[in-house]
Every structure is written in C-alpha cells, then in structure tokens.
C-alpha cells in the first residue's frame, strides 16, 4: 500500500525502435522486470511497460512503448512516435545491418516526433564482444553527428536513469519549456523534450542489473 510509487511528478513517454531482433523487448523487460528474457517472442505490433524512477528526489513515471521491429508492422508502429518524449534507437553491435538501418529509423523518428524529442542511440548485446561487428567509436561518431553525447556502459538501468536525470536537469535549468508542453499537447507527459542522444551499450545476455 505504499503511496510513494504512485505519486509521481512527471510522466515521460518513450518509444523503443530498431530492427527486428536487436533486443528491444529484452531491453524493456530488463528495465521493468530486472530480468533477462530468453527466447523472447517477436513483438506483435506494440507493447508497453512502465516503471517509476527517481531523479533528484522527483518521481518520474516512464511509460515505455516497445514496438515491433518487423517491417510489416512499420505502418502500425509509426503511429506511436506521436507524443513520445524520448525515442530509444536500438541496434545490435553484432549485426552490421541493424546499424546500417539506423539512418532510416532516425528519419522516421525525426519526421514523426516533436522536434524536441530526445533520441538515444543504444548498441545492444555488448556481452557478445567476440562477435562485435560495429565498433564503439564508429557508433559514437554517428551519435555525435546527431548532436549527441556518447558514453558506454553495461547497465540498462543506468541508461534509462541517466537519461531521465539529464532531462530532469534540463527542466531545472529552465532549458526545457514546460509551458510548451502544456499549451497544446494531448499527451500525458507534461514533458519537456530536448535533443540529447546517448550511446548506451547495455548487455543483452546476462545483464548484471
């Protein structure tokens, strides 16, 4: 009956995008359930999960929409970019093709979301170092080109939390215009959007969090 978890100050809506099989659903599952899901089935359309995190003493509810990577769902998932405060763009570091497709995902994200939507770049499956196909430096450069700051880490938790911290920091700085969100958004997140991309490399198998 803890009242705490429900009393949040902000709701951030995220969308996870990326090619099929890069581990989007696992990432979400890892973040919300803190468990690795082996044999994760293909996502049908969209699924969603929530978790409340705390940033600088403020409770923030993350509502994360996990989309299907399969091409046939592209038309469906496109509709979910609307109103997202953050887009998590995921690729698989062991499969170059998933990295090559990032630009198309990015185009989608840019076209279909608010210009202020935060886009993160996440290279998944960093535990499979031996099969690495995309170097960290290369991905970092790609992220930099898109005005991102980059960092690496094995921890999914940190990826989500650090991001939220940065967003919250921006609210505090006043660099995020809360009023803009209130003025005409139809979506819940009374959220601030700000360009900020991160290259996270959380492990897929055996995430230690």
């Amino acid at each position: 009956m803890a009242a705490g978890p429900y009393n949040y100050s902000y709701i951030f809506k995220y969308i996870i995008i990326g090619d099929m099989g890069v581990g989007k659903s696992c990432l979400l599952h890892q973040f919300t359930e803190k468990k690795f899901m082996a044999d994760c089935p293909h996502t049908i359309g969209v699924e969603f999960g929530t978790r409340i995190i705390e940033v600088s003493g403020q409770k923030i509810k993350l509502q994360i929409w996990d989309t299907a990577g399969q091409e046939r769902f592209r038309a469906v998932t496109r509709s979910y970019y609307r109103g997202a405060a953050g887009a998590l763009m995921v690729y698989d570091i062991t499969r170059r093709s998933t990295y090559n497709h990032l630009s198309s995902w990015l185009t989608d994200a840019r076209n279909l979301t608010n210009p202020n939507t935060v886009i993160f770049l996440i290279g998944n499956k960093s535990d499979l170092e031996a099969q690495r196909d995309v170097t960290y430096e290369e991905a970092k450069q790609f992220a930099d080109e898109n005005e991102c700051s980059a960092k690496t880490g094995d921890n999914v938790e940190d990826a989500f939390l650090d991001t939220a911290k940065k967003i919250y920091q921006n609210i505090q700085d006043g660099s995020l215009d809360l009023n803009a969100a209130e003025s005409g958004v139809q979506h819940k997140p009374a959220t601030p959007r700000n360009p900020l991309n991160t290259d996270q490399t959380p492990s897929k198998e055996g995430c230690a969090c």
Binding site: G45, V46, A180, V185, Q186, H187, K188
Partner: protein, 670 residues
Amino acid sequence: MFVKDGTYAKHLFDTEASIKMVDKEPIDVSSSGSQTTNPLSRKLNKILESRLDNDKDMLEALKALSTFFSENSLRTRRNLRSDIERRSLAINEDFIEAFQSVKEQLDSVYDDVKSMNECCQDMTNRLKVAKEQTHDLINQTTKLQNESQALQMKAQVADVFLEKFQLKPDEVKSLRGTRDGTLHEKFFQSLERVKQIHNDCKVLLRTNQQTAGISIFMQSVVFSLEIMESMALHQESAYERLYRWTQNECRTLTADAPDVSFVLCQAIEALQDRPVLFRYSLDEFGTARRTAVVRGLIDALTRGGPGGTPRPIELHSHDPLRYVGDMLAWLHQATASEKEHLQSLLKRCSANDEQIQDVLGHITEGVCRPFKVRVEQVLVSEQDAVTLYKLHNLLMFYHNTIGQIVCKEAALLATIREIQNLSHRMFFNSLNCNATKLLDKVELPPGDLGPTESLNKTLQLLRDVLACQEASVVAFDDKKQDFKQILSCVVDPLLQMCSVSASRLNSTDMAAYMINCIYLMQTTLSLYEFTDTRLEMLQAQMDAHIDTLVSEQASFVLNRANLAQVYGTIQQHQPKQGALSSIQGMDSQTVKTAMTKFDSYLASPDTLILPQCSLILSGRVRDSVKKNSVELICEAYKHMFEAINKPANEYKDPQSIVPRTPDQVVKLLS
C-alpha cells in the same frame, strides 16, 4: 521501725528471763529442749556459749536499751520490765495508730477501686449496648463500602466503555470537517473508529444474547442499539461528506495526466464500504476522465502537439491508413494510460477486475463517436479494395491489441468491432463491385489467346489483397475464413468472365484461351496459403481443356495425313463386313498414299502443330499437350498398323503400305 522495736523487746525479755530464770512467754525451742536435761545449765550454757559479738539482734536490742535506760539503778532495773512492756505497748499503740491510717487509706483505695470497678462494669455494659447498637451500622457501612467499590469498578468499566464506544470530541469535529471542506488524515482515522464502534456494538449485541439475563440483556440491547444508531448517524454524515468531497475531487481530474492524490486514494478506499457511493464516485471519475480523453482525441486530431508537432492527425486524413492507424494508436495509448490511472486510483482498494473494466469501458466510451464517425467516413468514401482490406486488417489488429486492455463488453471494443464489420462489408462490396464490372463489360479474347487486361488487373488486385493479408497480424482462423471468401469473390467471377469471353471462340481456341487464363490464376494462387482446394478445382478445369486440346491436336495431324478416314473406318470395322481392303476408300493404294503423307509428318512433326498449342503460355502445359497428342497418334498408328498387317484384311504386301513399326513411330515422335 516497729518490727525492729519488737525484735529488740523480745530479745531484751529473753535475756531478762534467762538471767532471772523467768521463763514465760515466748519460749525458745532450745529452752524447751533443756527441760529434758537440766534447763538451767542448758540455759546457762547457752548464755555462756552465746557470743554477744556475733549476735547482732542482741547488739541492736542492747543499743536500743541504752537509749532509754540511762540510769542503772535498782529501781530502774526493777522497772525495766514494765518499762519495756510499756514501751512495747506504746509502740504497739503507735502501730495500731499507724495501721489505722493505713487501713483507712486502704479502705478508701478499696472504695476507689470498687467504684472504679463499678464504673468499668457500667462502661462495659454500655459498650456492650453500644456495640449491639452499632453492629447494624457497621454491617451497613461494610455493605456500602462494597457497593462503593463495585460502583467504582463500574465507573472504570463505564469509562473504558465510553472510551471504546464513544467518539472523542475532536474526533466528532474531524468527522464534521473543516469549513473549506478539505479532508485530513484525522478524518479517515475517525471514520475508521466509527466503523469499529459500530462493529463492536454488533458483537456486543451478539454476545449479550448468549450470556446476559433477560433484563440486563434488554438494557444492553437498548444501549447497543442506541450507540449503533448514533454511530450510524455519524457514519452517514461522514460518508456523505466524503462522497461530496470525492465527487468534487474527481470532477477536477480532467487534465491530460490526472494527479491522483494520496488522500483521494484513501477516500476511495473508505467509500468501498458504501458500494453505491463507491460506484457513484467511480462513475464521477470515469466521467471526468471520459471528458479528458475525448478532449485529448480532438486535440490530437485537430491541434497536434505543442507548436503543431507532431502534426494533427487530421492533417493525414488523405491517407486513410495513416489517418485511421494514428487514431487507433492514439486510442490504444490513451486506453492503456487510463487503465493505469484507474489502477493507481484503486490501488488501496480490493476492487475486482470487473469494476475496473466497467469504469474503463465508461471512460473510453466517449471517444467512440468521434472516432466512429471519422473512420466510417473514410471507409465509405474509399473505393480501393486493397486499402479497404488493409484498413480492415488494421482494425482487426487493434481490436486484438486494445482487447488486451479492455474487456469484450467495452463500448470502444464494440465500436471497433462494428467498424471492422463495416470495413469487412465495404471490402467485399468493393470486390463484388469489381466482379460485377468484369461481367458487365466482358472483353473479347485477344488474338494471341492470352489473358485479357481485366484478368491481369484483377489478378494483380488479388495479389495485392493477399499480400496485405500476409502482412497482417490476424488470428489464423480469421485469416482462413477471409481467404475463402476473398477467393470466391475474385476467382469465381473471373472464371465466369473467361467462359463468357471465350464463348464465341471455336473449341480449340477456347481450350487454349481457358488454359491460359486458368494457368495465370493458378500461378497467382499457388503462392499463398489456404488455396489448395481452389487450386485443385482449377486444375480439374484445366485438365478438361487440356484433354480437348490434345484430341484436337491429334485429329488435326491425322486429318492432315488423310488418315482420319482410314482410322475411323478401322475403328468401326466389324469382321462380318469382310476384308478391310475391300471396303471403299480402304484399298491399299489410298492407304499407302496416306501413309506416305504421314511419313513426311514423322520427318518433321513440328510442322503439324496447332497454332493454338503454340499460344499456350505455360511451357509445361504446352509440352504435356504435345506429349499426350503424340501418344494418341502413336496409339492410332499402332491400331492401323495391326489392322493392315492382319491377314484377314487381305492387304497385299502390308510391309510396303506401313513400312514403320509402331515402335519406330514412337521413337520418331518422342
């Protein structure tokens, strides 16, 4: 002093007596003893023996004597005795006198004591009486004391009882609430206590029935009932207040992301005890959220995000799939969010899923109309079957997806289902429309007997439809059902159209044309699931046309070699008609000429292929027609060869008429 004097007197007398031999009173034991022997001597002895120094009494007596016997003369000695006696008498008189006062004093003491005794006696009696008199009083007092104790105990019990069964003033106050109508933690505690007291009273009533006597029972029943009544009153007014507050609070929750406060959760939890008020409060919440969701949808449709990005959904209304898809995705997200809000509101309650679903259904009901109107408009104005089918699949997909959040009975789901049915109808309408058009304006087969343009177009449509079927995420059964219907909507009219269009052709042309058409349909269908029965049916039709073409081809060859007549006669020939060579037109010369012609065909069989056969699109079918027709020809040749070589038919030198054996013919043709 008296005693001393007495002693002194006696001794004095004793001494005198012993000296003067006067032995009167008092006599010593020793003097009586001396009588036995010689009392005088004994007395003398005694005197002689007695040592004056040691006899203190004697010394005392002598000392006393010396006080008054001052003049030792005869006279005084003679008078000594009387003197002593006199003195003794005087002393005794003194004694008497002295004792007299003692006696008197003793008497008075006696009197005193006696009176004291009397007094005491009297006192005792009086005490006794008093005691007898106070006995009752004491009893009474004790009784009263006991009673007092009992009463004190009762008072304590009563206090405890009051503590337990009555509200404290501040509790009553907190129940009445503050002027501005806000609720505090205290309110819920007091409400909880009122409830507790009410329940305790119930228990009290029940236990009274079991234990107490009738009168006490009646009393406590009355008492319990009174408390219960007062608690019920408190409860009612408190719940009334709580409900009003909750109602007002819920009414304000129309923001995009409602702030469900902790107090509101508590209030909802407390209202659970009043199902009707609970229900009303939830309804109020639902209505507020419903308004918010409708406004949200309209905003998303017409205003878009902040500063117009993302762009309003209606901006894409020219693209039906995107338009409807965006709306559905918005509804999906809104439904999921609303469910979360509801769950956070009810997190302290034991509300069952049914209630949540009920309210969720109410919340999402509002958007049904604006949504339905828009989608219906899209569906009705859309002509393209493929788009309609895609829309249908999209609706089906969202019916599934949203169905995971809300229950089947929800209005939103029912609306989607309704629209989905409409889209289904519109889609098949469009297909049927297409079919009708096909049959209305039947194209004539082109010269090359290939497929008409409308056939190609329709098959392309079918391919497109089936392709989006492939891409959709619909339950297997639904897919299969749809497939059947789609196929019968497209393929049947197509076949019909082909037959109609082929009706003016000769049988060979018709067979080739139909084969081509059916072949195209087959190749299109074979790429998809659930088409097996359809393919079999098409194959059967095709086989019939192939048979026609094969026999046409075979008879064409035989005709060209003028063997048709010969073969026909041989087939009909009966032994009773006589030898075959005797029948007209079967003479060896005619047969031989024909066979020569046939031989030239054998040299280059391709010259005698029907043009229609070459127009068959499928190489496989073309080959099979060729092969089957060759088989037929070989069969016929074999038949003729045997007949001519038969001696009964009386052909001379059959070897020259049919120089090739059937095997050679087969080899040449294959």
